[in-house]
Amino acid sequence: MKLRAAIAGAAVVGGAIATYLTVVHYAHLSPICTSGGCEKVQQSSYAELGGIPVAVLGLVAYACVLLTAAVRGLPAALAGAVIALSGTAFSGYLLWAQLARIHAICQWCIGNDVVIAVVAVLCVARVLTEPDAA
């Protein structure tokens, strides 16, 4: 139960970041930024995937993880782990893009990278410890 609560809490934090970036994207606003590169990253082609803002995909992913945290059982734990691990790997790719392609760092993206990595660790721990179905 503690692990599920922790996953849910972390997913809410990640979802808040993704929501903020989604609002900024559609409102054509500049994200609050101290790293100096948020605007550049948000305006790059890596900010969208097949025409869908990456922030929206992140929001959907965190919502799905939240849903899996609300459900008991191994299948839900496994689904949460797959989503979180996929998100972590894709976040790693986007971090590479920021460093190697865009030459700018977005603090919100880094924050998301940390959160999704934490969620992934918690989800894997849940798979390892989730009680078997009675």
Partner: protein, 230 residues
């Protein structure tokens, strides 16, 4: 630790790796789906710009009472999108009838390739082909800062735009072009530019005002512009 659970974790890692690879491949295609050297069509289309007077960085009749200032970066995908989707409508509805003229201000937002692109665009302004070359470069737009704005791309864009490519290459490092870039960057700082594309409405004697748009599609943009110039 339960061996079956470890196998499940390994399976989850494998499934996640597959999902991530698919996402990365889609993302890679999205960021490189614009041709670099083989494009033969322009983004706006010569039809939209045909017959519209150009003077340096200004598109439209000099007598137009309102100036729409557009801040752009040739590497910015949203600028390209605005040029492809919305500029033709703005030209048709507002520029061609003489309601507004558009002033191009190129700024470096994305990085080193932007400088080279802007040098080529401002150099084309010396032939009064700035808007055509800007448009043609968007048609060739490649991955950010990958070195995509080569001499070949500039020559191809100039050819598409009906400009003299050799003259553009020769003028790119001129002091006049450098001065244009410096001036635009200074104006962007004064206008507190937050990103590209950004728009400012200038209707003397009123002070310039930012044009607030909720979206860049033709319908939304035209409605905002129409309201702003009334």
């Amino acid at each position: 630790m339960n061996r079956n659970r470890l196998i499940l974790v390994a399976a989850a890692v494998g499934a996640a790796a597959v999902v991530a690879v698919v996402l990365i491949l889609v993302s890679g295609n999205s960021s490189t789906n614009t041709p670099t050297t083989t494009a033969t069509t322009t983004a706006v289309g010569s039809g939209s710009l045909a017959g519209i007077p150009q003077q340096g960085n200004t598109l439209g009749k000099a007598s137009a009472p309102v100036t729409l200032i557009v801040y752009e970066d040739p590497q910015c995908p949203f600028c390209r999108s605005w040029n492809v989707s919305t500029l033709p409508s703005v030209i048709s509805r507002f520029v061609r009838p003489g309601k507004i003229k558009i002033e191009y201000r190129g700024v470096v937002i994305i990085g080193p390739d932007s400088v080279r692109g802007l040098q080529a665009i401002y150099a084309a302004g010396k032939q009064n082909k700035l808007w055509n070359v800007s448009d043609a470069l968007y048609a060739h737009q490649g991955t950010e800062n990958s070195g995509w704005i080569t001499n070949d791309v500039i020559l191809a864009a100039a050819r598409d735009a009906g400009a003299n490519g050799e003259k553009i290459l020769a003028a790119m490092s001129s002091s006049a072009v450098k001065a244009e870039l410096t001036k635009a960057q200074a104006q962007a700082t004064a206008d507190q530019l937050q990103g590209t594309p950004s728009f400012i409405i200038q209707r003397p004697p009123a002070l310039p005002q930012p044009l607030a748009v909720s979206a860049l599609d033709p319908a939304t943009f035209d409605a905002a512009l129409s309201a702003a110039i009334q």
